[in-house]
Symmetry: C2
Subunit: 251 residues, 2 copies
Amino acid sequence: MNPLEEMGGENYLPGVSVDNVIFGFHDNQLKVLLLESKNGSHWMLPGGYIQKDESLDTAASRVLLDRTGLKKVFLQQFHVFGDPSRSKESLIKGAIKSLQIDVAKTHWFFNRFITIGYYALVEFEKVIPVPDKHSTSCAWKDIDKLPPLIFDHHEIIDRALVDMRHHLNYQPIGYNLLPREFTMKNLQSIYETILGRKLDRSNFTRKMLASGILDKKEKLYTGGAHKAPFLYSFNKQEYFKVLKEGFNNEF
Amino acid sequence: MNPLEEMGGENYLPGVSVDNVIFGFHDNQLKVLLLESKNGSHWMLPGGYIQKDESLDTAASRVLLDRTGLKKVFLQQFHVFGDPSRSKESLIKGAIKSLQIDVAKTHWFFNRFITIGYYALVEFEKVIPVPDKHSTSCAWKDIDKLPPLIFDHHEIIDRALVDMRHHLNYQPIGYNLLPREFTMKNLQSIYETILGRKLDRSNFTRKMLASGILDKKEKLYTGGAHKAPFLYSFNKQEYFKVLKEGFNNEF
DNA sequence: GTACTATTGTGTCAAATTGACCCAATAATA
DNA sequence: TATTATTGGGTCAATTTGACACAATAGTAC
């Protein structure tokens, strides 16, 4: 969240925001949903303030709904960013310019604020990106080709990736990231992107099938200039059982 | 942190605190450092507010130093607790009674506040517990025999344990928790306490030695009515290498 | 239709790791 | 000196991992 958005008087907690790192998956590439500042010089994470009687998770969900139209997705708090320098005056001034806001120098948001980072995993195709009032566009960006970001938003994304990588050790992933039916290669690409390294194809398949969270479909995927791969879907019951009880996911 | 402590005017961020779950190890038992409220009815986590120009980590370190006299220990942010009900009026009133504070009903801390949870691993013998101005004593409590705690402090401790358990999957542990020299049983007890289950003794030894983070000492530990076990110390260089690069710690 | 390309499903196999034991050794104690 | 509790140091089968092999096949170029 950039601190420049209006607070709406007494309705929000002062000096605290949530920022969402919303991951999607398309063309076997991990992407992040970002907002473009009004003068087009910088991008930022979708974020928002926390209402007086709202839980942190609810605030993050609300932001997610506003920017994507999605409910009930995987949303996980991962870290608080509160370095005093993250909202230094010089940075604020740059942000004011980017966002083309007119504001008095005595405004409260020249004060320090902290932000709670959440990451979300969403189904790319279902998202309808909606800019907020301080941005001109809302779009997906490749995780390895990020545009210039305001404040410490690049650091927040990096940290989301690292923490997600650790969560991968004891949680399955993909349920909220892939369409209902997908190929093994799609799933493997997600793991490879998050882990930042290549995995052996047949060993990956072996392990995923052994976990029991996948249902093999009768249908095949056709379209590629090669042997048609199977389609899979997640076995919802098994998936959430494994999600709850944990499994060894060392790749 | 209980929200009743004075803020000292404009020196702190409003509505935000840090709370430390400080773990120590003694008699092969994991313990938490707690403060006793003035009327003795409840205990609480050592916590504090964040100074205007202080990072979150620094604030947590400061609290730790104040209550234990220790610097440079392992301190890790793990979760933010911000449920609106955690600081409901009824709870606050109970806390006011416990802490024997006289305060106007319009005081700011009747408002909602959030707290950032940190956990610390410290060497039990080196700690000099110091109560703060709202507590009569500061003492170690067994993790499985916790006294009644104010607000959501019990939940915070539980969450610290769960998160620490997950960190165990890719981080070594013990460096800040054990004295310079210790037995393999000491180390195993820490793992068993955090994981909440028994481990096979010789398999545990095998794995720890293979990790390379331990140096075997010439000396033996004597005192028990049985064969004298070896003493070990951490190989600092290897320990931090593994801490940084990660290792598979599945037990 | 035919050859070619890219990628797939499946299988193999040695190496490494894990889990479940066993046993002789020994410090303190009775 | 015998007993007890716990240790260091194994063994061994079962399982998992990592690296690779190979035939099958959907599209594409011709």
